[in-house]
């Protein structure tokens, strides 16, 4: 996959550029845990122009302090995707309108899709 590597600070700027060029359709957003870094993947598409390919943005985050600007105010279709990545990877999206867990219960401890997650962490605190 052809990825454009973007710095975390420049993410909003790059996304704005994508939107201005017509890539307004959010295909998918997810994270990949590389152990020494946490990679965020954003795929955008221009639905009005069928022949243009997808744009893929890739952002590397510090796995100990995964904080990044939210793109939800710019592309509202990412609202559940960012909640899901927060839920399963613990990435904090600054500026997200409603950053709660999406799939796991509210009192769940830990972020299960992280590679260092162990079963004993997964307790629900009532």
């Amino acid at each position: 996959m052809n990825k454009e590597v973007v710095l975390a600070e420049k993410l909003v700027e790059s996304a704005q550029k994508c939107v201005a060029e017509g890539y307004t359709f959010p295909v998918v957003h997810t994270a990949v845990d590389h152990k020494d870094s946490l990679e965020l993947i954003y795929i955008f598409r221009d639905v009005r122009d069928m022949d243009r390919g997808e744009r893929v943005l890739s952002v590397q985050l510090d796995p100990d302090h995964p904080v990044v600007d939210s793109l939800t105010p710019l592309i509202p279709g990412l609202v559940f995707q960012e909640r899901e990545v927060y839920d399963l990877f613990g990435v904090v999206y600054e500026g997200h309108p409603d950053l709660r867990r999406l799939l796991l219960p509210e009192g769940f401890v830990g972020h299960p899709l992280r590679k260092d997650y162990t079963k004993t962490q997964g307790d629900v605190v009532q």
Partner: protein
């Protein structure tokens, strides 16, 4: 709380709909805030059916994971299999032989038809019409019988394999499918005659739950939800895969974006599926159904995104490997989850009784939303 002139205070009534409510089509829960009979706010809650399929993909080998995709969207399992197998094939550089691609097309279009039939029955049940449910389930059961004859299972088929299929289809089975098409076509026509001009149905669905084109795109809607709002986007046509590379799939669109348009798009798609089945059955030729696949499947250190056009929209799989037999990361893009993002735009301002109809027109499957 609002106090009026007489000093009577009014406050919003909070209604909890689900998770065990038949109109939510599974274990979906939404909290409706109502002022009188109209909805002023909605909060969706999901995750009741979360089974951790993405984590399981990291703990099972590529081959061991093959039966799992059937359980994502259990009403259209062939598409889930195609999404996972297709992503893995793209990563591994395997290509299925032509007969396997044609057969994949046939089972997928049959599955789309069965999924749309189930949607039609339950949607009309939401509107208040009870008998169409019995008719559509009769036809759906015939399709499931066909798929059961081929694969041995009604819903969780596990029929697709890396580089091909579990086994070939016999000629007699293909004949049965061919013989069934005129019957299904006449039944779809019959439903349209029964439903389309029904005054009550029209009044319940027209101009209800409108989504404009721009909102549909920015919220990532796909499938009939997107096409009912105008954009003619269909992955079978614009990002073709497998057998769809050889044909030009007709794209059905409407431009009103209301519940009625979504109904029309899905009904027309059933006809398109039947036309495609005709083409596939015409084009299929004898041959092998399995390519040469290495015994030990190891995902290379790369990543890919592969998507298919399911009955509910774009079903994609993002797959990253790290040189082992396990996936490093597998992410499912469930169309229903994206389609649910516009829930408050759809519902706010409408009556509570319309909420059930509008949610029915979104066509969610919770196995896929929660994964």
């Amino acid at each position: 709380m609002i106090a009026n002139k007489e000093g009577i205070t009014q406050e919003e009534l909070v209604i909890n709909l689900g998770p065990q409510h038949p109109s939510t089509h599974g274990v979906f829960r939404m909290v409706l805030e109502c002022r009188g009979e109209s909805i002023v706010g909605v909060t969706p809650h999901m995750g009741y059916l979360h089974r951790g399929f993405e984590k399981l993909a990291e703990r099972r080998t590529a081959v061991q994971y093959q039966p799992y995709p059937d359980r994502w969207d259990y009403l259209a399992a062939m598409f889930d299999e195609m999404a996972y197998i297709g992503a893995a094939e793209a990563l591994l550089g395997i290509e299925a032989p032509p007969r396997a691609e044609w057969l994949r097309g046939i089972v997928m279009e049959l599955n789309r038809l069965s999924s749309h039939l189930l949607w039609l029955g339950t949607f009309l049940l939401d509107v208040g019409a009870l008998s169409p449910f019995l008719y559509t389930f009769r036809e759906r059961e015939m399709i499931l019988d066909l798929l059961m004859e081929l694969t041995g299972a009604r819903l969780t088929y596990s029929y697709l394999r890396f580089g091909g299929l579990a086994h070939d289809a016999e000629d007699i089975w293909l004949k049965k499918v061919r013989a069934g098409i005129p019957y299904f076509r006449s039944r779809v026509r019959e439903y349209r005659q029964l439903i389309d001009d029904n005054e009550i149905f029209r009044k319940r669905v027209q101009n209800i739950g409108v989504i404009d084109q721009d909102t549909a795109i920015r919220y990532g809607l796909t499938g009939p939800m997107l096409r009912a709002s105008g954009p003619a986007w269909d992955l079978r046509r614009h990002r073709p895969y497998g057998v769809y590379r050889q044909i030009e799939t007709p794209v059905v669109t409407r431009d009103k974006g209301d519940t009625w348009s979504r109904y029309q798009v899905r009904m027309d798609e059933m006809d398109v599926s039947l036309d495609l089945l005709d083409i596939f059955l015409e084009g299929i030729e004898p041959g092998a159904v399995n390519a040469k696949v290495p015994k030990n499947i190891k995902f290379p250190e790369a990543d890919t995104y592969f998507a298919v056009e399911g009955p509910r929209g774009e079903l994609g799989v993002y797959l990253a490997g790290d040189g082992t037999a396990h996936a490093k990361r597998m992410k499912i893009r469930p169309p229903s989850l994206f389609n649910l993002q516009v829930l408050s735009q759809l519902l706010v301002g409408h009556m509570v009784s319309d909420a059930v109809v509008i949610l029915g027109s979104v066509d969610i499957v919770l196995g896929e939303v929660d994964r």
